[in-house]
């Protein structure tokens, strides 16, 4: 049997019964969309359409619509890709790693975090397609026989590893998310009528919740968590290999895999924090996503922010210690060269700003949590920009040194990914339960505030 530490705060407040949990969470799925939802959704779709126009233009016109030049041949496209993939990692971390660690507080946030993972990975994948330039040849990245036009892919290439890692990660995340949804879809099915009953009935696969099914289900979830944990670590490790296996000073560092994984968790938690802070207010779920949850998330943000801080400093030490002048220059240029502002932005947003969470008052303050989470995501975007662009823009030949300025193509494609992400998230929050009802019910008895306390 599980033991709950007496010093833990209640995970569910307001003296909820099992039926209250069902009601509170199904309400948003069953009711007509609210005005706020319609407005927010409409804005997302407009952003998606505007950005989508730029994506089509990028495909039509070619990569010339971006600000790339012959020295900086990789900039916002790959920055955005790494940024989105990193954000995606929080979902798997919350649902898989926290499940293995038996952290009960994951139950209120895992569903939305997993959904966010899927949408973020799709956004990341869209940048892969975009920066191929000719997306209709995307199948060249797959191991197809030579008769399809290309040779077999080079399995020694980290870009091919990326294809396998991202597509496996996306499929396994979808599966994990869907398996988690089945019992809740059955709950909605049993409350619904008409067409909705048919749709949710098909999606819930005829779930009845028998004890034997639940026992196997729990076993499946545990093993999926065990499989997803090394998977999520491998994905960002492989993403970091895109850089680490190259011979560019500033990129080929062995610290990249752990440093990228920590950064991914960091930015992902910040994004989950943002989404949950909005969702809990809009859907009135303050009893499920409590200040305790927000505070725990902030603790992880501070921890991972400090880990990336240590990584930034280690990189400088290793560059100095390596004795290679190009390596040293890459790092000095990073902090003091013409793109110093991006380095400063990264250090300030990622390392310094989360330190405010050492104070309990600030850690439990909703506005501060929201602002810091936004700042952290800006900082993590800068981190990738710093790694990619500052390492490239001054190469071995000073005559080819340049500066990078984004053009509207870069910005428009980035806007597209936001439109896509939020459109998907709003659709999810309308048609599927944003909190895992079955899991919340399973911790209700041990970790909820009792009615008599009031």
């Amino acid at each position: 049997m599980s033991v709950v530490s007496p010093i833990r705060e209640h995970l569910v407040t307001g003296g909820k019964t099992y039926h209250d949990v069902t009601e509170d969470i199904c309400r948003h799925v069953e009711a007509k969309p609210t005005k706020e939802w319609k407005i927010a959704f409409a804005i997302s779709v407009l952003v998606l359409m505007y950005g989508g126009g730029w994506v089509l233009w990028t495909w039509w016109e070619g990569l010339g619509v971006w600000g790339l030049n012959k020295t900086v041949g990789w900039a916002w496209d790959i920055t955005n890709f790494v940024w989105w993939v990193g954000i995606g990692h929080a979902g798997t971390l919350i649902s898989a790693i926290l499940l293995l660690f038996r952290q009960k507080w994951r139950t209120s946030i895992n569903r939305a975090a997993e959904a966010m993972t899927i949408f973020a990975v799709l956004c990341a994948a869209s940048f892969i397609l975009m920066h191929m330039g000719r997306p209709w040849l995307a199948y060249w990245a797959l191991p197809l026989p030579n008769t399809f036009g290309s040779l077999w892919v080079n399995f020694n290439s980290p870009l091919v590893w990326d294809v396998f890692a991202i597509s496996t990660y996306f499929s396994v995340s979808c599966l994990f998310w869907f398996i988690g949804l089945i019992p809740d879809l059955a709950t909605i099915r049993d409350r619904a009528t008409g067409v909705r009953k048919t749709i949710y009935g098909a999606l819930s696969l005829g779930w009845t919740g028998g004890a034997k099914t639940w026992a196997r289900y729990e076993d499946v979830s545990l093993i999926l968590a065990g499989l997803s944990t090394p998977l999520v670590l491998s994905v960002h490790t492989i993403v970091s290999f895109d850089f680490a296996t190259s011979v560019i000073p500033g990129w080929h560092t062995t610290i990249f895999p752990p440093y990228f994984v920590a950064g991914a968790i960091f930015s992902g938690f910040a994004m989950v924090q943002n989404l949950m802070l909005v969702t809990r207010v809009v859907y009135k779920l303050e009893d499920y996503i409590t200040l305790e949850h927000i505070s725990l998330m902030n603790k992880i943000i501070t921890l991972t922010g400090s880990i990336v801080g240590v990584a930034y400093i280690t990189e400088f030490f290793i560059a100095a210690y390596s004795g290679v002048e190009y390596e040293k220059y890459a790092f000095i240029n990073r902090a003091t060269g013409p793109l110093w502002w991006s380095y400063f932005g990264m250090m300030f947003c990622n390392v310094m700003s989360p330190q405010v969470f050492w104070f309990k008052k600030l850690r439990e303050n909703i506005v501060v949590s929201f602002v810091i989470a936004v700042v952290v995501n800006i900082g993590m975007w800068f981190e990738r920009f710093v790694i990619i662009v500052t390492s490239l823009h001054r190469d071995y030949i000073p005559s080819s040194w340049t500066y990078f300025t984004p053009r509207m193509g870069d910005i428009g494609d980035y806007i597209f990914s936001f439109g896509f992400f939020f459109t998907c998230f709003f659709l999810f929050s309308k048609f599927l339960p944003v909190i895992n009802m079955a899991e919340v019910k399973s911790v209700l008895k041990s970790s909820s505030e009792k009615k008599s306390n009031h």
Partner: protein
């Protein structure tokens, strides 16, 4: 299908239902199944089910993935179309580990999950037999198949009420 008759006991609390399962079984009554809104730990053990072993399909599918990925990389780059990449071996094993690992995880996860769907008879066109519609909301429903028990109906009903069922219904399927 109309000849199957079940007695369904409705419980309010996981501890009560757990206790009732043990007592009902000690009376020699066979329980068809207990339906719960969330996983109750230990209930499968109390009902006498074997420990689930989903790790077996996961391992088998995983090892299949490992072999397939190894064959794919080895055959394509080592045999079918060897390419000289930076003067390395035609089949440098370490650089293929990411592919082998990803395909192992992919096949293990999907293989195990679909085995689970198959074992539990779950699928998009399945019409489930629902003993009590509240069992996906807040109640625990214990279904007892009357055809498979020798104890009389009224005795089973009495036992269920005695062991904490707040309602006892008859369900014909």
């Amino acid at each position: 299908m109309t000849d199957k008759k079940y007695i369904v006991g409705i419980f309010n609390d996981e501890d009560v239902v757990m206790d009732a399962v043990q007592k009902i079984r000690s009376k020699g009554i066979k329980i068809h199944e207990v339906f719960c809104p969330y996983p109750v730990h230990g209930l499968d053990h109390a009902l006498g089910y074997e420990r689930p072993r989903m790790g077996v399909p996961a391992f088998l599918f995983g090892i299949t993935g490992t072999c397939l990925a190894f064959l794919l990389t080895f055959w394509t780059l080592g045999i079918d179309w060897p390419m000289n990449i930076g003067g390395k071996n035609f089949f440098p094993f370490p650089t293929n580990i990411p592919i082998v690992f990803e395909l192992t995880v992919l096949l293990a996860a999907f293989g195990m999950s679909f085995t689970f769907f198959f074992m539990e008879g779950l699928g998009p066109s399945v019409k489930p037999i629902i003993f009590d519609i509240r069992s996906t909301d807040d109640k625990f429903a214990m279904a007892i198949d009357l055809n498979k028990n020798t104890v009389s109906d009224s005795d089973i009903k009495a036992f269920l009420s005695e062991f904490g069922a707040e309602e006892v219904n008859i369900k014909e399927v």
